[in-house]
């Protein structure tokens, strides 16, 4: 097995799926000759040609809107939006049509579309290049919102996303693009969409995270183990919507103490939905109020103050301690 970083793993998924299925088309700004500004589509145009790897004019609404048409007419478009801050130009097409055509046509049509975009902070970027707005998308019925947490699951989830019969928003934690490598098998590996996983087992408390926040959450779990012998179970959501609450509810019933970690702003964020599920499904097992360790309800500041905004290991550990100390 090769050790790949997130960029290489995503590239592998695209390459293999394009080889396997000639309906797959990659389109977006700078995805061809430049190989994408993060190089996720590197080498694809050389391999598959300009008809399948398309540098489009600069228009996200058109990228998404035409991709919807392609998807309806039998292709499997994978759009790259350069940063999540520019997905909004395409949001109307997703809300108004991608998520509805199956429903509106009573099953006659469906939209097997993938929209990939880097999201999240931590890379000293400009405004609009660091936000974490997955909750906006998770709120749309008919759209799957997927966020991998490492190279191996990213590759497996992207394959599933491309094969999925319905539209998928695929948010790539850009802070992880080159942060670390993992063994990624060359042979095909998929993971089901809409399923979370246990990233670390433990019986004393539950930490729920996803995307770039998984790593600090796992580190916090190690620190809690070292500091106080408390073992945290860490749930990695992988798909934000539709949310799989089976593992987190089971874990909450076991530990009674739960914290949710995300870099998105707190109010109406993914954590709010998770808390609601726990109240609905594990209320009588909870021994402490569910904690949310999140971004604040502000625009993420420019990079010199970004670290104050982003949840980090000390903030997660602090919240976990409070949970453990609750009577």
């Amino acid at each position: 097995m090769a050790k790949l970083n997130l960029v290489q793993a995503l590239n592998l998924a695209l390459r293999q799926e394009m080889e396997r299925d000639d309906r797959v088309i990659v389109l977006g700004e700078d995805v061809g000759r430049d190989g994408g500004v993060f190089r996720v589509t590197e080498g694809l145009i050389e391999r598959f040609g300009e008809e399948r790897v398309v540098d489009t004019p600069l228009a996200e609404s058109a990228i998404v809107g035409t991709a919807i048409g392609m998807a309806v007419a039998g292709l499997r478009p994978v759009c790259e939006i350069q940063f999540d801050g520019f997905t909004y130009y395409g949001m109307h097409q997703i809300e108004a049509h991608a998520t509805r055509l199956r429903w509106r046509s009573r099953g006659r049509f469906h939209v097997p579309l993938v929209v990939r975009a880097p999201y999240g902070g931590g890379v000293r970027a400009l405004e609009h290049h660091s936000e974490s707005r997955e909750a906006l998308w998770a709120h749309l019925p008919g759209l799957k919102t997927v966020i991998p947490s490492g190279p191996r699951n990213a590759r497996a989830l992207l394959l599933s996303a491309i094969r999925d019969p319905d539209p998928v928003l695929f948010f790539e934690p850009k802070a992880l693009y080159r942060a670390f490598r993992e063994e990624v098998p060359e042979e095909e590996e998929t993971l089901p969409l809409g399923r979370s996983r246990i990233a670390r087992e433990g019986g004393d408390l539950t930490l729920v995270a996803y995307g770039a926040m998984l790593r600090p959450t796992l580190e916090a779990a190690e620190e809690l183990s070292r500091q106080r012998g408390a073992e945290a179970e860490v749930i990695d959501l992988l798909t934000i919507s539709p949310l799989d609450d089976t593992l987190l509810v089971a874990s909450a019933r076991k530990t009674g103490r739960v914290a949710v970690v995300h870099e998105a702003p707190r109010s109406f964020g993914p954590g709010a939905e998770i808390v609601a599920r726990l109240v609905e499904k594990a209320f009588y097992h909870l021994e402490a109020p569910v904690a949310r360790v999140t971004g604040y309800d502000v625009i993420i500041p420019l990079f010199r103050r970004e670290a104050y905004y982003l949840p980090d290991v000390p903030r997660i550990v602090q919240a976990a301690r409070r949970l453990l100390e609750a009577p």
Binding site: Y89, L302, F303, Q318
Partner: protein, 368 residues
Amino acid sequence: MPRTPIEIPESIEYLSVLDETGRLDRDLEPRLEEGLLLRLHRTMLLARRFDERLLSLQRQGRIGTFPPSSGQEAAHLGAAAALSPEDWMVPAFRELAAEIWRGRTLESVLLYNAGFNEGGHIPPERNDLPIAIPVGSQILHAAGIAWALRHRRTDRVAMVFFGDGATSQGDFHEGLNFAGVFSLPAIFVCQNNQWAISVPRARQTRSRTLAQKALAYGIHGIQVDGNDLLAVYAAAAEAVGRARAGGGPTLIECVTYRLAVHTTADDPRRYRTEEEVESWRRRDPLPRFQKYLADKGLLSEEGVRAAEEEVAREIQQAVERAEEAIKALGDPLDLFEHLWAEMPPTLREQREELIAALAARGGEETHG
């Protein structure tokens, strides 16, 4: 019924006053007074040298990613110079010389690029919006500002900048359309620098020019040599005058070139040749304008040297002042500011929470 031709204007003009060999068309030469010409030169030189300094600061890790503007100074400065201070300017993000012309301090640019939101502050005397990164989105704001200016019975105008890539966005077309329908005092300045990151101008539109898009919206359009400060100024002055007089909007396409990287995260060798860049370096707007001034007897070699020294000093002082200012910034709690006129209770709670979290760390700086 037979097919009958519909009469629509079929041509637009290309304007060049001072060509790349330094030849001047005296009939077209705008009559600018000496002082103004020299101030324009100084601003152009300052912007160029400052841009180069920013690049080296970025390479040293002292500031973050930014979009260099070298090579495009004539295109945006020439246009902005046709505005009066009471007019409005709506930038994209590659208009350094124009922003400096309008009064933006070098320190503010430095703070912004060093990752401090403080660098975005616009002082009350400047009728300019801050930069807009989502490509094309600001075009509509300029139309709206122009609308308000007319509604309020002023004779002011709004000028907006954007790139060739931006002309593919719906916002561009919608902005031109609104401006045309309501005959707004707006000037749309496209800096066609041939590239939108790695995507060439030919991939943005099949049209021969960008300027001709004006025809479809029934507004004035002109293409100018964007590396010729005089041509850009002349076209902009005409458009501003017309807009002020109630004659409606204009689209100006400035044909120019981005000599440097798209941003400091970009590697242009992946998509364009050194020969192409070289061919545009020969059309560099700065030496061309200097030659014009020299031919007019306004700028000697000695004068250029003196101006170089002056801007070098100004830049050095700005860098030092910005570094000094930065020492007093960095208060984490600033991240809660300026979002609302009045901070809502939830946010006040979150602010308290950050204060407590920082205190729990023993007040030590955990982030650099």
